[in-house]
Amino acid sequence: MRYAMAVDTRKCVGCSDCVVACQTENNVPIGYCRDWVVEVIDGTYPQLEIEIRSERCNHCVNAPCVRCCPTGASHFAEGGIVLVAQNKCIGCGACIASCPYDARYPHPSGYVDKCTFCVHRIKNGMLPACVDVCPTKCLYFGDLDDPNSDVSVVLKKRKSKTLIPEAGTQPQLYFLI
């Protein structure tokens, strides 16, 4: 099993519903976020292009945050999901510094927090909250080992890219272009 997510940059309008849905679903304190939206503009008026991306933890196969964690709090769970065990995390911040995607933040309760792909939901057969809420249906989630999963199907059909592939982390957040 290999969980992954694809973001359709052609459909995303950058409304940030994924952000607020994650915050409420996961009780992320106001002022913090596990996912966010990026807008990239290219060109000069009126020859312009825009790419809008909903971003979050890339749940990398070769995750620097897991490798550098001194206590083993950052770990791989089933399906390659990168999680932080709050009870083992000492909040040292090594993982925050190591993440090329800046996906982690120090939770005010003293541990490091990040996207979990809503593991509590997917274990119960539900989609991550951000995927479930997205008004444009620009987020696709599923198991890459299953050729019929939403994410496998859309990645086969469309061109995609990952962010900072040169970091060698093998990110599992894909952007449809």
Binding site: R10, K11, V13, G14, C15, S16, D17, V19, V20, A21, Q23, T24, E25, N26, N27, P29, I30, G31, Y32, C33, W36, V37, V38, E39, I41, G43, T44, Y45, P46, L48, E49, I50, I52, E55, A77, L83, V84, A85, Q86, N87, K88, I96, D102, Y105, P106, P108, S109, D113, T116, C118, V119, H120, A129, D132, V133, C134, P135, T136, K137, C138
Partner: protein, 745 residues
Amino acid sequence: MTSRRQFIRISAIGAGVLATGAGSFQLLNAMASDEGLKKLKVDLKRTPTYCEVCFWKCAGWVYKNSEGKIWKIIGNDEDQNCNGRFCPRGTGGVGMYYDENRLKTPLIRVEERGKQVFREASWDEALGLIADKMKGIASKYGPESMALFTHGSGTAYYSTLFKAFGSATIAEPSYAQCRGPRDEAFTATFGEEVYSPEITDIRDTKCLVLIGSHIGENMHNGQVQEMSDAIDKGATIITVDPRYSTAAGKSKYWLPIKPATDMALLLSWIHEIIYSEYYDKKYVEKYCNGFAQLKEYVKPFTTDWAYGITTIKPDLIKKTAKEMADASPAVIVHPGRHVTWYGDDTQRLRAVAILNALLGSWGRRGGFYRPARFELASFKLPDFKEPSKTWQDAFPGKYPIASLPVSNALIDASIPENNPGFPVKGWMVSGTNLISTIPNTANTLKAIQNLDLLVAIDTMPMEITGWADVVLPECTYLERYDAIRTGPHRKPAIALRMPATETLYNTKSGYWIARELSKKLGLESYFPFEKQEELLDWQLKQSGTSLEEMQRLGVKVFERDADDLYFAEDENVEFSTDSGKIELYSTYLEGAGFDPLPKYTPHPEPSEGFYRLIYGRAPMHTFSRTANNPNLTDLMDENSVWINPKVAKEWGIKTDQYIWLKNQDNIVSSFPVKVRVTERIRWDSVYIVHGFGHAQKQMQRCFGRGVSDTQMITNVLVDPLMGGTGMRSNFVTFVTEKAGEEVAS
């Protein structure tokens, strides 16, 4: 947090790492560890609601955690307005409830108006004072001198109260400050308006044309969803906008038009579609009136003519006209929603309606569908007294085609110098912050100083509450029942809102407030049910369901009476116009003394060093009303002024610098605004999101954040047809330093 994280939050704009504490929830689920997951199985109760953060009114479910606090609000899968997916504002609606700056108890003014010195009062005293003043106004001037300005769910109850009182002076700013021109133009053409949610069949369209309409930034949920579906299906999107809007970024064709010249483009499209014989001949012949006159009229409006006005190349105008024709009838030239721009808006929307008629999109799949609405039983109330004066008697002969009261006209009727046919002496303002809603704030404030009574009903201490004599704190939609939502949509449907949680503070529902006030006015026979849920249950039982069933379902969708979502092949359709046909040439407007065919008029242009002020929406906010919502403020807590890089270079202005705006009438913004230098805006314009720059200190999160477009809009071009306030003819320049004030840079 690193600087990079702050950078990437530009779209989810935040003030940085501020743990405000306000509204922060206790950690319920420590889900990051496997042990934490086991704790997740909590007993969750869900309650149906429909959202009140905007007018789309999506139906959903409110979930509470094991401590009884609201955990999340999500969409109801059965609901056609949202298809189970709420927008960011609906998802963040929880912040409306937990906002600690809410109005908490009735207030009575104790010093002069606007000084904002109030004392707390009981409901009994506050309502008693209002009733006495209302009776005084009625006996001195007539009941019509009491005006209601209203928006949202409370409208139903306060309108009933006013009609019972004998006043039909009831205005919703959603008409003359927003969609009025569109509704009048489509009614003049097709005999029918486009409703809300709009009857645009975007889901099945092959070509969507947006004229200044920024779907995706305006988060009209179902529409955004359907646009996304259309993108998936390969539909062509054509966007006309001086700004590279989000929708423009999704478009095959973006026409970066010179602002205020849309009419010229529309006329040249009509020319192109007629003279290239792209129009739907069979449809036009069968359903339309006045084609010959239209054809003759648009003869001079060639693409070359339009090029000189709009700066859009003839080739691009031709290509896009062909795209529309190729998609016809599955094409939508979108009527937009907030369309009060230049004062000739009804006529501009007439041109939009004519284009749709030529393309045969009205009543066709992928164009405009026929809406269905559930007819809920209404309880027979005593007849309302015939009001001795209607709102139009305030200024006889003005705005002859306005089908709804014009809020700005009622404000003008509150100022004696305007010599109104009757004076408006009292205002009840519910759910609309007139200070931010109505342009020309100085005029509004002048009107307020002439009133005998100003009552403000709101959930938040908006600017208007500061000017009120009596402030009534309403509870939020999460704490109350409201009228059953009945549509319209593709299928008839009903949705229930019920209290999801306890009522905070000394706040009350709209129904309760209207009913209690009715008692003090001797009008309680118009509110026969003590509790609203008794009325709802009666209504629902008449319709074959019940309150109990709706509490379980939230939404109930019914089948249409007939399979008539679109016109049938060769169907004989009777349109509700003078001729019974689609009026390309409007005999109705001609009869009212206006141009029967839309005319291009040049609009004022900015002088040197000034830029046209264009405003719009952000997907995470609704008007100015969400500006203090802790959840939504976390996504965007101020607006910024978009400036083209060439202009910024000339001024030496940089991104993130704070500046003030000054308009053509020397009005300088009260607060500085952050600069965003971006290629997304033309060099002759600047852009800001509406609804920021609040001057009300009681709203601690949004006070002084950003700039208010309303404050900058002092040149208002009123549509002579229906009274709409054209607000896009204001020009601003930049003030980089203001004496005695410092800002972060």
